[in-house]
Subunit: 340 residues, 2 copies
């Protein structure tokens, strides 16, 4: 049995749910994998850099919604990330701060710092994957650590580890899929008779869409996911800006409803295909006939179909992801790193 | 770079295609995984137990369709499996002999012998998985070897390694799917207007169905796959005889066509579900509405949907598997074993 010291960067929904899941799976982690854990650090813009070498009380941590709650906890506040790493001595860092599409910062610095300090780095943040994949992969390899990011594309459904661990010696020629929940939920609502704005508001009330949903609506979220997949599983460097991109703003409620009634609903479809010069990739609204399983993917469900040299079509569908899905991707990465 | 000695048991389509695939992926295996290989043994009912410590000439092996061809090859013929293992000294044995549903023999003896002799054992044969999974798994663990069987359920699409390697600490509550190609091809043909017999004959001409297809038509093939999945990924011992089973013989061409016209085609559906006393499992024809992606799986395609504690629905679909699919499952198992 080995006890791992864990540091959490960002303490919003993803890392809070991860802590709940770690608690729920605690017995299984110990019995089946010989893994125990202790959270020795939590850092976020709101609460600062908090460290407790003995490990935070997990129940207290989960109840603490305010800065005051943290101030009352045992432990110390560190002046910088570097000082926090020294105080926390994390063996695994879970990076779940907000995405910066253009630069991938500060997540890249967090992950670089964690790997250099001797920790495995696990992230739910797409920024580092699309802006610094090769650097961080190579840094991790040099340090004998893991840089893992299974939660970045499909809520923790195994995609990267599928190709890394279970589909060796296979060539990915391309893929297509529906990878953004917010737009899919909005389109489903419009098909049921809502206007774009009503449907967006409903998605926000359901907690699917953020207050500023333009990142999703304009196709950026999907484009970043496409770029992450192309970089990692196709081995071709592609920044998200190079993904041809059109969001769903131009689609009227009437167009969406009549497409559905005609048996070919609109979906915001992602595509990537190898060609002579590398890979061409796009995110665009497309009408998909109901005879194609992709047309049946509604609401928060997602789908990806890979074309490989061995399997002409290998498709993974995630139906109505549960609360724990994204956090599970990080937990699975933790187990992979711990057993590596 | 390590060179592995390989022994092939059975030399029909599966192992011949495996040899072709090993040749095709030779450079990648060397460069990416540090794996080289040499076939030092081939055994089958037709050709006997053939060994060549220096390695058979692969092109000669692939051209040899007759017993005479083998007799002309360099090497020796061994009097028994045991003598063959001693002469071949295999580090990996690929078992691809014919399935015996009731006993799993002689494949179980082959695999037991290979593991006891110090080889990894890789099989495309479901018999050993449903009749001797625990024994062979434990034997492999004691010998520090791998017992792998990714090609047994879905033509080499990763299912077992998915749960073993990429979905740790997850609980499978149940699954449903379409896992038998022959019946699916026959039903597709009947929907297009053929009688059962015509459709069966066409499937046989296409090489999908065997001369005696009753094993498929009566649901045995699917039931054995269900039992293999329940044994391994649900951890519950279930012999194939305990899978409730009804084939497609009672379906008339008219019933099949009118079900399709009514928007709910017949499919031979597999199901397994955890309950208080273990797992209940079945293979039965069911009408599935066209709003369910499972209804869209035609011809040789297959699908499986898992219900887990983390993902309420996680579905894998394989569309029109290529020639190399089943052999690829064995190749991937070889790489896993070699890197273990």
């Amino acid at each position: 049995m080995k006890t791992f010291t864990l540091g959490l960067l960002g303490f919003g929904n993803v890392n809070r749910t991860l802590v709940e899941l770690l608690q729920r799976k605690d017995a299984e982690l110990r019995e089946r994998h010989g893994i125990a854990w202790r959270i020795t650090g939590v850092g976020s813009r709101r609460i600062g850099w908090r460290a407790n070498a003995e490990g935070f009380d997990v129940d207290e941590l989960l109840r603490s919604r305010s800065l005051d709650a943290f101030t009352g906890m045992r432990g110390q506040e560190c002046p910088s990330y570097r000082a926090w790493l020294d105080a926390v001595q994390p063996e695994v860092v879970f990076e779940a701060t907000a995405l910066n599409v253009e630069t991938g910062q500060p997540a890249i610095d967090h992950i670089r710092g964690a790997l250099e300090h001797g920790a495995h780095a696990i992230t739910a943040n797409k920024g580092p994957v699309v802006h610094a994949y090769e650097e961080l992969r190579d840094l991790a390899a040099r340090r004998g650590k893991q840089f893992l990011f299974e939660s970045t594309v499909m809520d923790g459904v195994p995609i990267f580890s599928l190709f890394r661990n279970t589909l060796p010696a296979i060539e990915v020629r391309g893929f297509k899929g529906i990878l953004n929940s917010t737009t899919n939920v909005i389109l489903s609502g419009m098909e049921r008779g809502l206007t774009f704005d009503e449907s967006l508001r409903q998605a926000q009330e359901l907690g699917v869409a953020e207050t500023d949903a333009s990142h999703d609506i304009d196709g950026w979220d999907a484009a970043v996911k496409v770029a992450a997949l192309v970089n990692v599983i196709m081995g071709v460097r592609l920044p998200p800006q190079k993904v041809e991109r059109e969001g769903i703003r131009r689609l009227t409620a009437e167009a969406v409803r009549s497409a559905r009634n005609a048996g070919a609903p609109y979906k915001l479809r992602c595509r990537a295909q190898r060609n002579e010069s590398g890979v061409s990739a796009s995110v665009c609204p497309e009408q998909i006939p109901l005879t194609d399983p992709m047309a049946l993917v509604d609401g928060t469900s997602s789908i990806i179909q890979f074309e490989t040299d061995i399997f002409p079509g290998l498709t993974i569908t995630e139906e109505n992801p549960g609360l724990y899905a994204t956090a599970y991707g990080m937990l699975a990465d933790f187990i992979r790193a711990a057993l590596s």
